[in-house]
Symmetry: C2
Subunit: 337 residues, 2 copies
């Protein structure tokens, strides 16, 4: 291996959608692990909407990436050197090691992956945070019951595509909202959603939802917020559960936009809206992983990966993901396994 | 008794705030109960914000009052004639018998009141629907814990004043929001709230709330909605509970107003917003009534009644209540017990 580490750092805080120039590719020597540390070579980098939040210095649940600092992100990689008793060379691991080709870690938050379970990239998708997010968000907060109608926004994304499929497994009618005909076809023809529509061509979301949800909406899994979510509230059923996972339509706005107030629907319908962060479920990841892996193995849960090649293309791929260009999980392949 | 019954009917559907001319005082003969029925003479009429909803034909959880129909409302009254096995003459009862001096009922939804428990008017306030609403809304959905900060809007109203006092009983720091210096003084000096402010004179609700809630907001009991509620969301703590009881600021708008979207706060704070209707708790009213009566008896729970006199003054008093002129429970005294 060469002794150069390529990293993507934050060059400037984006205004609106990030631009490629908000990132910087820098080179530095590959670091050397000290006692108690490991050196990991990245194989796949995970691109996720939450990373947009880390580029901003607005208050959030996690500290922002500083200017000049390596972008935060989870990777799957291989342990190249281990000075740590719990890891050995050749171990495949996942952890929040950043947008870079090589990382040194003291093992904090780094977990070993079982490469026989499924392709290792799934540790960043269906068997990783997006899968966990879909699993706990839908089952724990959404509590879908057989015969209920579940609506998912961002339905063709890494989380939404899993939410919809789990809802199908649970016997629900599942309606997906996604951007573009290709995604709608993916939901209907590959993932078995009962109905779906393209929010980029439909004019009246409320009318379309009414048509596709003749029995109203019992669970809404919200990845996007904004006007799609506004259209859902008038259609919720009594005791509906609205799960707020993400608000990607709002992350790149230069100033907050106003919307119709939605709280009155909660009274009439005795309904609940709840947000969550997957980190709060850490003690139960194992339970989810087992179930998700079984569903993947038995073909009940499909996944799709959109893979960019090379760390240098991570910024472009990230911006594309924020604009909804990907289907399923957006990854960057950093090196061969 | 004379043989004339005076009733208030709905004359027209209000646009914005109701006007006195949206109501009509009509006279008709006092009805005669048939077998299985009772004749009730109204003593107190309850005025409540939900009645504004019934004047509109927008979809709601209950059917609207029709034009020409007697306005809906709960009364406390005395059974004058009984042809019903479960009631006898002289019984004091409460039920949804409308804005009128006399009503015939088959007993559906009519409950007997124990006049030794507390003044009979409390069956419409602290020991009635407003008390139940405060009790279940705060305890069941808000789940206040000792040391937490509870914020109540509409804090000097029939529900809000009880919410705040129960939160104090549960060991919370309680901050009230009300309109006018007189109400703020009532909260601070009579009800023992820890802090309160007058939304009519404070310019920046967010700044004021931040000042009065230095440890953030754990429970928000929302009676009003609108810009007061908008100011609460940025200040909620992790795992906060927002209880949506009413949205009185929105009921008289001629068209829905826009507001800042609030759902993103729910993600960062893993917080929950929930609406409820008190009717869903019917099976547990007895539990609440016992506890509320005990708190009233031991002086832990104070209540205030604003009493208008005469059925003919009900419309004016109702409009006043919607505009926040009352403190505590707004009643109309229809007759002497």
């Amino acid at each position: 291996m060469s002794n150069i580490n390529r990293q993507i750092t934050l060059a400037s805080r984006p205004v609106g959608y990030p631009k490629v120039s908000d990132f910087k590719l820098v080179e530095s020597p590959i670091p050397t692990p000290k006692a108690g540390e490991i050196l990991v070579r990245a194989i796949y980098l995970s691109l996720d909407p939450y990373q947009r939040g880390r580029m901003s210095d607005a208050p959030s649940y996690a500290r922002p990436v500083q200017i000049g600092e390596v972008m935060t992100g989870e990777i799957v990689g291989k342990v190249m050197v281990s000075q740590h008793p719990e890891f050995k060379e050749g171990d495949i691991v996942a952890g929040l090691l950043g947008w870079q080709e090589y990382a040194v870690s003291d093992g904090t938050g780094v977990r070993k992956i079982d490469p026989t379970l499924a392709p290792i990239s799934t540790a960043l998708g269906v068997l990783g945070m997006p899968g966990m997010t879909a699993y706990f968000g839908l089952l724990d907060l959404g509590k879908p019951q057989p015969g209920e109608t579940v609506v998912v926004s961002g339905a063709a994304g890494a989380v939404g595509s899993i939410v919809g499929q789990i809802a199908k497994i649970k016997g629900c009618r599942v309606v997906g909202i996604a951007g573009g005909e290709r995604k709608v076809n993916y939901l209907l023809k590959e993932l078995g959603f009962d109905a779906a529509f393209d929010y980029k061509t439909v004019q009246n979301y409320g009318q379309k939802l009414k048509e596709l949800c003749p029995a109203g909406i019992d669970v809404y899994f919200d990845n996007v917020g904004g006007s799609i979510t506004d259209a859902v509230f008038p259609l919720i059923n009594i005791k509906a559960r609205v799960v707020i996972c993400g608000q990607i339509s709002q992350y790149n706005l230069e100033k907050p936009e106003l919307g119709p107030r939605c709280l009155r629907y909660l009274i009439m319908k005795r309904a609940r809206v709840e947000g969550f962060l997957i980190f709060d479920y850490a003690s139960r990841y194992k339970e989810a992983l087992q179930q998700l892996a079984e569903w993947v193995k038995t073909g009940k849960l499909m996944y799709h990966e959109d893979i960019a090649e090379g760390i240098e293309n991570a910024p472009e791929a990230f911006i594309g993901m924020l604009k909804g260009r990907n289907i399923g999980k957006q990854l960057v392949k950093i090196s061969e396994p």
